[in-house]
């Protein structure tokens, strides 16, 4: 069998496959389908400083080869997550990544600090790119200076490695990536969802109560690949890639573009077994295209790496 293992800051991954934030809750539901210990890691749903109820419904819409969502960061708040959700995930032998969100820089810092105080999660994913929060989240995600600032402040309060999750809704993804690298990010997660909308013809209004939502799924894969490929040439911190993965071939495509591991979001909804199935299928795909390990494939599609 091919070597699927991969070491990233704070994460000893037995394979490069993890569920993406927000698409897997805190793991409970999918743990009824399979042993979460099979996963490379688990990225938890976004945590905010206090409980959030999120947006009104409808919160999801189907699109061609994708979907829109505007959940609005519904979550019980960081304290409750640490109290009731993290212990459950700890019962599996799997690294835990906490997705950190907020409306203000202070909220990001507070959430990161709270996770840091427990020794129960392995890394933070700084969600500066959620397009569904109005009060500021979107700003951090499109302005390099603000993104760098929040990254720097979070790094100051936390010993945990920080993966900054980038928004694709920007003119210059490389500028964003460089800014957060300089600010101390240990890695990048990319991409979050593209801002989109669907209009419901019978009501003549945006279908989502929040009007806009984040586009995910196979539809956005070419955008994710392009951004990772561009960023890989300009930054040296590792990238967790995501956006439309549905097959082991897709996983390899992300690795070649420069990702060191991948996250799978929307595909869980259609097939709850997608993550273990990808883990099982990956060795053969690596072999078919001439790679002896995950590590050997990383960045091999990128000129300066390949």
């Amino acid at each position: 069998m091919k070597n699927l293992a991969m070491d990233l800051p704070g994460l000893n991954l037995k394979n490069p496959i993890m569920p993406a934030s927000g698409c897997f809750g805190f793991g409970r539901e999918y743990s009824e389908f399979y042993d979460l210990g099979e996963l490379g890691a688990v990225i938890m749903k976004a945590a905010t400083g206090s409980e959030r109820f999120g947006n009104n419904t409808p919160r999801v819409a189907e699109t061609s080869s994708g979907m829109l969502n505007a959940i609005g960061l519904q979550n019980p708040g960081v304290e409750k997550i640490i109290e009731t959700e993290v212990p459950f995930l700890e019962s599996f032998n799997v690294p835990i990544i906490a997705n950190v969100a907020g409306s203000t820089v202070e909220e990001y810092i507070a959430v990161a600090e709270t996770f840091n105080q427990t020794d129960k999660v392995n890394a933070l994913e700084l969600n500066i790119s959620c397009p569904n929060v109005k009060e500021g989240g979107i700003q951090f995600g499109t302005d390099p200076d603000m993104a760098a600032n929040v990254t720097r402040l979070v790094k100051q309060v936390s010993n945990l490695p920080v993966y900054v999750k980038l928004s694709p809704n920007v003119s210059d993804i490389v500028a964003m990536a460089k800014a957060v690298e300089v600010a101390g990010a240990d890695g990048l997660s990319m991409i979050n969802t593209l801002s989109g909308m669907q209009i419901h013809l019978p009501s003549k209004r945006p279908l989502l109560a929040n009007k806009t939502g984040g586009l995910s799924g196979a539809a956005i894969k070419p955008v994710a690949i392009r951004m990772i490929y561009e960023v890989k040439q300009q930054v040296s911190i590792p990238i967790i890639g995501m956006g439309g993965i549905t097959s082991a071939e897709d996983v390899l495509e992300f690795l070649l573009a420069g990702a060191s591991a991948v996250a799978v979001g929307t595909a869980n909804f259609h097939n709850p077994f997608i993550c273990p199935e990808l883990i099982e299928a990956l060795p053969e795909v690596l072999y078919k295209y001439g790679f002896s390990s995950v590590e050997a494939a990383i960045g091999k599609g990128v000129p300066s790496y390949g």
Binding site: C23, G25, E29, P58, R59, V60, A61, Q74, G217, F269
Partner: protein
């Protein structure tokens, strides 16, 4: 517990305007599902599954019946699937109807349009336990009516249509007052459920709700509904689709 299963299509036929009845074969789901649960059905070329209620189960022959209305591209495609093909389903999903009922009760079943199907398996199950049933089923027109005969076989049944082409003309809420009952179960469009829960505010009842779903398993928080519970919300896909009428805010 929910599983991912392949279901053989035993038959698929139109039973009313734009309404298809499909009989599916599966051991696990036929053995474990309870009235009010649903199947989360995969349709080729669609990124999200379609929630469809279980309308009937034949435990002996291990079949599950669903009834669905052709609304958009997913149900349109599902309607093209023929006998012999297989569909990929998550199920049985959600929590079903509360079946703890005193033996001498009278139960009112109130269904609107494509909300009727889950009430049939509920009614059949209650009838087996010799519970007295009164069913009020509302449809748009005579062309939309289905399962009238089947409901009559399990109890007193009243049909209303919006245009009066079959049964009484009007809405299900127009005839509610006529009946004495101990508890009601309702499924149908939100305006109908709002009218019913308002009108029957002081009667015990359970309603089955719909919402657009992502995962269908409780992981994505797409399908929440505000409730009076400590959490402040429940998930229709997991905690529902059936709720105590008093508990949720429509």
């Amino acid at each position: 517990m929910m599983r991912k299963e392949k279901l053989h299509i035993l038959s698929s036929k139109q039973v009313a305007l734009d309404t298809v009845e499909m009989v599916l074969e599966n051991t696990y789901i036929s053995k474990t599902a309870v009235p009010g649960q649903f199947l989360h059905v995969s349709v080729e070329g669609h990124s999200l599954r379609r929630p469809i209620s279980i309308a009937d189960i034949d435990m002996e022959n291990e079949t599950i019946t669903i009834l669905f209305k052709i609304i958009g591209s997913g149900t349109k495609q599902l309607a093209t699937y023929q006998r012999g093909m297989k569909i990929d389903v998550l199920g049985p999903s959600g929590n079903g109807f509360n079946l703890e009922i005193r033996a001498d009760s009278t139960i009112l079943l109130i269904g609107g349009g494509i909300g009727v199907p889950p009430l049939y398996y509920l009614g059949k199950t209650l009838a087996k336990n010799h519970i007295k049933l009164i069913s009020i089923l509302g449809y748009q027109t005579a062309q939309h009516v289905f399962y009238e005969q089947r409901f009559q076989e399990i109890g007193e049944t009243h049909i209303v249509t919006n245009d009066g082409t079959h049964g009484k003309k009007g809405l299900v809420t127009d005839v509610l007052d006529t009946f004495d009952f101990d508890r009601y179960y309702a499924c149908g469009p939100v305006p109908m459920l709002q009218a019913i829960t308002a009108k029957l505010e002081h009667q015990p009842g359970f309603i089955s709700l719909e919402e657009r779903m992502g995962c269908g398993v409780g992981a994505c928080f797409a399908c929440v509904i505000p409730t009076d519970t400590p959490d402040g919300y429940k998930k229709i896909c997991k905690d529902g689709p059936v709720f105590n009428a008093q508990e949720v805010s429509l």
